[in-house]
Amino acid sequence: MNLIVEREKGLLELEKRIHELRAMSANQPIDLSSEIRALEAKYAEIQRDIFGSMSAWQKVHMARHPSRPTSLDYISQLTAFDELHGDRQFRDDPAIIGGFGKLFGRRIIAIGQQRGRDTKENLLRNFGMVTPEGYRKVARLIELGAHLALPVVTFVDTKGADPGIASEERAQSEAIASCLMALVDARVPVVSAIIGEGGSGGALALALADYVVMLEHSTYSVASPEGCAAILWGDAGKAEEAAARLKLTSEDLRGFGIVDEIVPEPIGGAHRDPATLIERTLRVVDAALARLSGESVEELLEARYRKYRRIGAWQSDTMNAVTARA
C-alpha cells in the first residue's frame, strides 16, 4: 500500500467537500464563505503536515505514487516524437520508450523507462524493469544520437533492472555495461531527468549524463530500500530504516555532486499538477542542452570525465581529512 495514497485520502475528501460548498453557494442565496475559508485553512494545514517535511521513506512512496507522471507523460509533451523500436537482435522491450523527438523545436533522441499506469500496462511493461534487450535498445539509440549529432535526453524511472532468469541468460550485466560505455563515449550532450524511482545500476544505465536533473521528491539509490535491507540485515521489512540511511533524496544527491539541479514539485507532489511540472522539467532540460551545445566535443567529453572522476569520498593515508570529495 502506498503511504502517500493513504495520506492523500483525507485531503481528497476535504477537497471534494470544498468543491461542493462552492457549488452550493454559487447556486443558492446562502453565504458559505466562512465555512469554505475554514475548510481551506484546514486543508492547507493538513497539506503542510503531510508534505511540509517528508521523510526519506515517504519520498520513496511519493516516487512510486501510481499517479506520478511517467516517461510517456513527458515524451507526449515534446513538440514531436516518433518511436523507434527494438534492439535489432532479439526483441522490443516495452519498458523502454525511445526515438526521435523535438524539445521546443530542438531535435533530440528521447529515451525513457516506462512503468505501467495500471495493472494491465504494468504487466506489458514489466513494472518498468528493463531487460537486456531494453538496455541494448538504449545503447543503440545513444549511438544513433551520436551518429546524427543529436543530443540525448533520458527519463529515469525504474525500481531496477529486471532480475529474471531470462535476463541473466541474455547477459544483463553486459547490457548495462554497454549502456554505460555508450554514454561515456557519446560525442553529443546527454541530459538525464530522474522523474520517479532511480533504482540502482538499472537506473544509472540511463543516467550517466553531462547534466542530471532530479525532481524534488524523486529518489535515486544504490539499491531499493527493500533490497538494501535484505542484503545487509536479511530482512526486506526493514526498508524504512534503510531508506533513512541511504541518502537517496534529491537534496542528498545534490550535496554529493551526483545531481546538478533539483526541479521543485507542487505541494503534494508532481501528480497534483502534472502539466506545470512537466513543462518546468522540460524547460530545465532544454536550458541545460542549450548550455552544453555551446561546448566543443572535446570540452564536453573532458568535462564529463571530470564530473564522474571526482565522485567519491576517501581519506589519504593516516590523515583524517577527506582529500577528495564531490
Binding site: 545500476g201 533490497g227 576517501w314 589519504s316
Partner: protein, 291 residues
C-alpha cells in the same frame, strides 16, 4: 545440501589463516593439509573445488616476481555517516583485521610472463569485495596509470556488487570506472578481466564486462542479480549450473573458462597475442615508478 549452497557456505568462510595445519574441503569434505592445498593453488586435489583466494596469494600466483602497489594510501571514510548494528568504521576495522587488507582491491604494477602489466585484484574477504569509493578510486588510478604508461591491464574481479554503506557514492563508481576503462581502451591498451567467484551486481555490470577479453575461473558464480533475489522474485528454484562460468560460456557471455592452475599461462599467451613485440619483455622486473 544443494551444490550451490555448499559453495556459498564454503566460500563465505574462506580458510582463515589461523595457524591450523589442516582444513576441510567444503564441497567434498576431504581433510586437506594446508601446505598441500597452497601448493595446489588452493584447489582441492580430490574434487577440484576452488577455494576463494586472498588477493596477495593471487598476486604471488600470477606475477613473475615483484609487485609495486599503487593507490594503497587511498583509504575509506564514512561519507554517509552510516551506522546500523555497528558503525561503518567498526565494520571496516573488523574486515581490515580479518583480511589483512586496507580495502577490497589491491592494485599495482608487476610483470607477468615477462610482460609489464597493470594488475588489479579484488578480494571477497573485505566487505564481500563490494565496490565503494576506495575500490572505484584505486581501480580508476590503475586504469589511468595503465593508459599513461601504455601498459596492458588485467583485473581479477570478486565482488558482491556495490557497497550499501556508501550509498550512491558507491553506485557512481560504476560510472567512474567505466569512464576510465573507456579512456584506457580508446588509447589502445589491452584490457582483460578474470572473473572469479563471485562476480555480481555493480562490478559485473561495469568494468568486469567492459574488457577486450573476459576470462572466467572455472565454476565461479557470475551474474547481475544475486541468486536469492531471483529465486524470491520468480518463486522457483534455479538450475544448479545457473550463473556459473560454464553456463555463461555456453550462453556466449565470456571468452573462456580456465582452471586456476592454467590462468597464469593463459594470461601469458593472451598478452603475447595482444602485444607481441610491442612491449619490450623484461625478466622479472617491475616497470620503473616515477610517481
Amino acid at each position: 545440501m544443494p551444490e550451490w549452497l555448499s559453495r556459498r557456505r564454503g566460500s563465505s568462510a574462506p580458510p582463515p589463516d589461523d595457524g591450523a595445519l589442516w582444513t576441510k574441503c567444503p564441497k567434498c569434505g576431504e581433510v586437506l593439509y594446508r601446505k598441500d592445498l597452497a601448493a595446489n593453488y588452493s584447489v582441492c586435489p580430490r574434487c577440484g573445488y576452488h577455494f576463494r583466494m586472498h588477493a596477495f596469494d593471487r598476486i604471488s600466483m600470477i606475477v613473475d616476481s615483484d609487485f609495486v602497489e599503487i593507490g594503497g594510501s587511498v583509504l575509506p571514510g564514512n561519507p554517509l555517516g552510516w551506522s546500523d548494528k555497528r558503525s561503518y568504521e567498526q565494520k571496516l576495522s573488523a574486515d581490515r583485521e580479518k583480511s589483512q587488507l586496507t580495502e577490497g582491491v589491491v592494485c599495482g604494477f608487476a610483470t607477468l610472463s615477462g610482460f609489464p602489466v597493470a594488475l588489479g585484484v579484488m578480494d571477497f574477504n573485505f566487505r564481500g569485495g563490494t565496490m565503494g569509493t576506495v575500490v572505484g578510486e584505486r581501480l580508476t588510478l590503475l586504469f589511468e596509470a595503465a593508459r599513461d604508461r601504455r601498459l596492458p591491464c588485467i583485473v581479477f574481479t570478486a565482488s558482491g556488487g556495490a557497497r550499501m554503506e556508501e550509498g550512491m557514492l558507491a553506485l557512481m563508481q560504476m560510472a567512474k570506472t567505466t569512464a576510465a576503462v573507456a579512456r584506457m581502451r580508446n588509447a589502445g591498451n589491452f584490457f582483460c578481466t578474470v572473473l572469479t567467484d563471485p562476480t555480481t551486481g555493480g562490478v559485473s555490470a561495469s568494468f568486469a564486462f567492459e574488457a577486450d577479453v573476459i576470462v572466467a575461473e572455472a565454476r565461479a558464480v557470475i551474474g547481475f542479480a544475486g541468486r536469492r533475489v531471483i529465486e524470491q522474485t520468480i518463486r522457483q528454484k534455479l538450475p544448479e549450473n545457473f550463473q556459473t562460468a560454464e553456463f555463461l560460456l555456453e550462453k556466449g557471455h565470456i571468452d573462456m573458462v580456465v582452471e586456476r592452475q592454467e590462468i597464469k599461462p593463459t594470461l601469458g599467451r593472451l598478452l603475447d597475442y595482444a602485444l607481441g613485440d610491442k612491449h619490450e619483455r623484461v625478466d622479472a622486473k617491475v616497470p620503473e615508478l616515477n610517481a
